[in-house]
């Protein structure tokens, strides 16, 4: 194999693919990138961790076609640190090693037998549609941190995506809190529902973030693929049913408080200093004083109380939460003020940005 390609393109492609290649796998070839040079002047870079797979084709001058499996991390770090320049990078196979040479530096990297490198599954007989990538990324980003880390319930350790009229709705929950985001996405055609595994989301986000415009999607029972511009990304999807989450969203409210987001985030950050091992905070809403008090206490450290101005309607509230669950949601709230809706003891709290009804966040209280 002997090829030459542009450095920038190669660096970008190797960088993306390397993140997806398998780490700590029993099969060493999975930590490699498979470089395949074809006669039609394309270089295809493939990587997979058996949960996600990616294939990136970039233009290259192919003098001698061939296939090689190179340890991903080594190649990515090396290509990433070659001094910048518009000149091409040459890749050639020499006695079982790959020589990567740029004008001013070159390296020789050991390869592995490429026969064991798996093919990427293709989505068969699935539904096809295309959608706007940046909108899709926005939706995933707004909720995915809420999904469950444990793998006990595969449905909960995924992000649930479904169509509702012209919106696409993204939902994630770990059964202690739940985030829901509705995004108006330009798309060609509807799909039923998708459950994307939580651990694949960072990689999917990284790949789709580079896309401006449409990405073609194919979906079947077991996998989903995104393709655009020479990139093909395939992820496993969970074949299951997301719980009926709408029934837990409170319909009415006992107390409503509107606070400045900045104030609340600051108070929660202070809570971090004094909270106990359960991250417990006490929230007290006092309607007469128009105040929201946030109190934390740790017998080993000390205690703290922050009073925040709030616009309150409804009854007084005194309730405990895990502040980590609350603070998480502010990464998806852009507005200046937030609306807290309480429903009494042992009932969930709903947090939503004021004047934006596309995002809702629900947190369960602590039971003491």
């Amino acid at each position: 194999m002997r090829i030459e390609c542009a450095q920038g393109k190669l660096r970008e492609a190797v960088g993306l693919a390397e993140r997806i290649s398998g780490k700590h796998m029993t099969l060493p070839v999975l930590s490699c990138l498979l470089l395949e040079a074809e006669k039609n002047n394309t270089l295809t870079i493939r990587a997979t961790n058996l949960d996600l797979g990616i294939e990136i084709s970039i233009p290259a001058k192919v003098e001698d076609p061939g296939v090689v499996a190179v340890p991903g991390q080594t190649l990515a770090s090396f290509v990433g640190s070659i001094p910048d320049g518009d000149r091409g990078v040459k890749i050639e196979l020499q006695q079982g090693n790959v020589r990567v040479s740029a004008p001013r530096s070159s390296g020789v990297i050991k390869t592995l037998p490429h026969d064991d490198f798996p093919t990427l599954p293709r989505v068969e007989n699935g539904s096809n549609f295309s959608l706007n990538a940046s909108d899709f990324v926005r939706g995933l980003k707004a909720v995915w941190y809420s999904s469950s880390i444990s793998s006990i319930k595969p449905e909960l350790s995924s992000v649930y995506v479904y169509c509702e009229d012209e919106f696409v709705v993204f939902v994630a929950t770990d059964s202690f809190r739940l985030a829901e985001k509705k995004v108006k996405i330009k798309k060609s055609g509807d799909f039923g529902m998708i459950l994307i595994p939580h651990k694949n989301i960072p990689e999917i986000l990284r790949v789709l973030e580079n896309v401006s415009g449409e990405v073609a999607v194919e979906l079947d029972k077991n996998q989903i693929s995104f393709s655009y511009n020479g990139v093909y990304l395939v992820s496993r999807v969970v074949d299951g049913v997301f719980p009926d989450y709408k029934q837990i969203i409170p319909k009415q409210s006992v107390t409503e408080a509107v606070l400045l987001k900045h104030d609340l985030v600051n108070a929660l950050k202070i809570s971090n200093i004094f909270s106990d091992k359960f991250n417990q905070i006490n929230i007290k809403i006092i309607p007469e004083a128009k105040v929201c008090e946030i109190k934390t206490k740790n017998s080993d450290v000390g205690e703290n109380l922050t009073a925040l101005d709030a616009v309150v309607t409804g009854e007084a509230v005194d309730i405990n939460f895990n502040y980590k669950y609350i603070i998480d949601c502010f990464q998806s709230i852009d507005s200046d003020s937030v609306n807290l809706i309480f429903n009494g003891m042992h009932k969930p709290l709903v947090i939503s940005p004021v004047s934006d009804n596309t995002f809702r966040y629900i947190v369960m209280p602590m039971n003491r």
């Binding site: 093919t119 006990i152 595969p154 929950t173 202690f176 074949d239 049913v241 009926d244």
Partner: protein, 448 residues
């Protein structure tokens, strides 16, 4: 099943020798034989990577190895299985003391495409003398949807099994006529969807959505009462379906003729099909229901207990279920069968206390119902519009509240007890022949 495990274990031993260790642990660990059918082995694998790779690289090796052990095996298929089953054990270990209350998340018990709850089938529908007609009609509809009884209209009070029956029809049509598209919804949902569609200028999409189905099952159509716009849209839908011989199934809490505020043209269309009542279960059926429900939870109830329960809870299947649940729970808690006395105590708590209704309440309610002045009931006037409510009040006081004839007369403006007896007998006789009066009285009773 055990044969499968053994077969695969011994095959794995051979395969392990044939492939490299790394390959073996990546591709073969976690696979298992799902089933064997007519010489085909179905191999469960965790993901599509594994499926594709096994097929591409190791298919012949696996097949050869399997054939060596069992020469009946002809082919091999790969099936992606959920890894959920394997993780059950993990679940038990991981119950940790998290102080945050977890959400009562419940699984969807309905199928998203047709809205049907798969648990409602005929197999767990208990047939007794009270519902055998409805059951038979439903079975006929399943056999020949669209032609036999169209529309099928089932009515009865809450808890008599309407929803179960009509959903079972849907589920069975689905299995027996695979190409038919079934959709279940409540009339309330239909209404609110129509309203939303109007608001967002999508009336056309709304129409098309429903016209693509072959069978529509609509629950609780009494919610249409008084909603003219919905009724109009529903009327068009009805006609499209009926003309093209597509099945419509409805349930309601009363006979279509007595749904207030329902347009005549819709009433007559309901009447064109088959209208069946699901009455309250009779004593034997209640016994049968209790027996099946308790057996389903592995609790055997003695006959005297069944007898007692069946006679003390009369109306509602749902209440019967509730009592059985309570008994099952107590039995498991105490780890022994309950005695009749304990059951009696339980039932005392779980049945609703009867409301105390005064004679004044009845008079007020009935006069409101017939829209007459309450005072005129006590008067001596013999105007027709007052006489009827007056007689109905006397009938209800005697029949439902068991007030004596003389005291009814006394409370209603000092009438003679013979007048009361005459009114009572008159209403009682008329009920049998006049369905309108019967329906009015049952509505009044529902309000008491």
């Amino acid at each position: 099943m055990n044969d499968h495990i053994k077969l695969w274990e011994s095959a794995m031993v051979e395969i392990e020798l044939a492939v490299s260790e790394a390959n073996f642990s990546t591709w073969f660990k976690g696979s298992f034989i799902l089933k064997q059918e007519e010489g085909t082995i179905y191999l469960g694998v965790p993901n599509s990577f594994t499926r594709d790779w096994l097929y591409k690289k190791f298919h012949s090796v696996i097949l050869r190895t399997l054939r060596k052990m069992n020469d009946e095996i002809r082919s091999l298929e790969y099936v992606i299985t959920k890894d959920a089953e394997k993780k059950k054990a993990e679940e038990r270990r991981k119950v940790q003391a998290v102080p945050t209350i977890s959400m009562p998340l419940q699984d969807f018990y309905v199928n998203k495409d047709d809205n049907l709850n798969p648990r409602y089938v005929f197999d767990n529908f208990i047939v007794g003398p009270f519902n055998e007609l409805a059951h038979a009609a439903s079975k006929t509809v399943v056999k020949t949807p669209g032609t036999a009884y169209n529309p099928l209209f089932i009515y009865g009070n809450t808890g008599h099994g309407k929803t179960h029956l009509i959903q079972a029809i849907g589920n069975h049509i689905k299995t027996e006529h695979r190409q038919k598209k079934v959709f279940y919804l409540t009339s309330e949902k239909f209404g609110s969807e129509y309203f939303n569609a109007l608001q967002s200028n999508k009336a056309q999409q709304f129409k098309e959505k429903y016209r693509k189905y072959d069978v529509i099952i609509m629950d609780d159509v009494q919610f249409f009462s008084g909603k003219d716009k919905f009724q109009e849209e529903f009327f068009y839908l009805f006609n499209t379906f009926h003309e093209s011989n597509r099945q419509l199934i409805f349930s309601c809490d009363k006979h279509p003729n007595f749904i207030p505020g329902l347009e005549d043209r819709i009433k007559s269309r309901f009447n064109a099909g088959m209208i069946i009542e699901l009455p309250a279960p009779d004593h034997e059926s209640r016994m049968a229901i209790l027996r099946t429900k308790s057996l389903a939870s592995n609790v055997v109830l003695e006959d005297p207990i069944l007898e007692f329960l069946a006679s003390s809870i009369e109306s509602n299947v749902r209440e019967l279920e509730g009592v059985v649940n309570a008994i099952v729970c107590q039995t498991q808690l105490k780890n022994r069968p309950l005695s009749l006395l304990e059951v009696k105590n339980l039932v005392k708590n779980s049945t609703k206390p009867k409301k105390n209704i005064s004679i004044k309440d009845v008079i007020k309610l009935v006069s409101d119902f017939y829209n007459v002045d309450e005072d005129s009931i006590y008067d001596k006037t013999r105007k027709k519009e007052v006489v009827k409510p007056r007689q109905v009040i006397m009938y209800i006081l005697r029949e439902d509240l068991s007030v004596s004839f003389p005291s009814i007369g006394e409370k209603m403006g000092g009438r003679d007890h013979t007048t009361v007896i005459h009114s009572y007998e008159k209403v009682r006789g008329e009920i049998k022949t006049n369905p309108v009066l019967m329906e009015e009285i049952s509505q009044i009773r529902a309000m008491l």
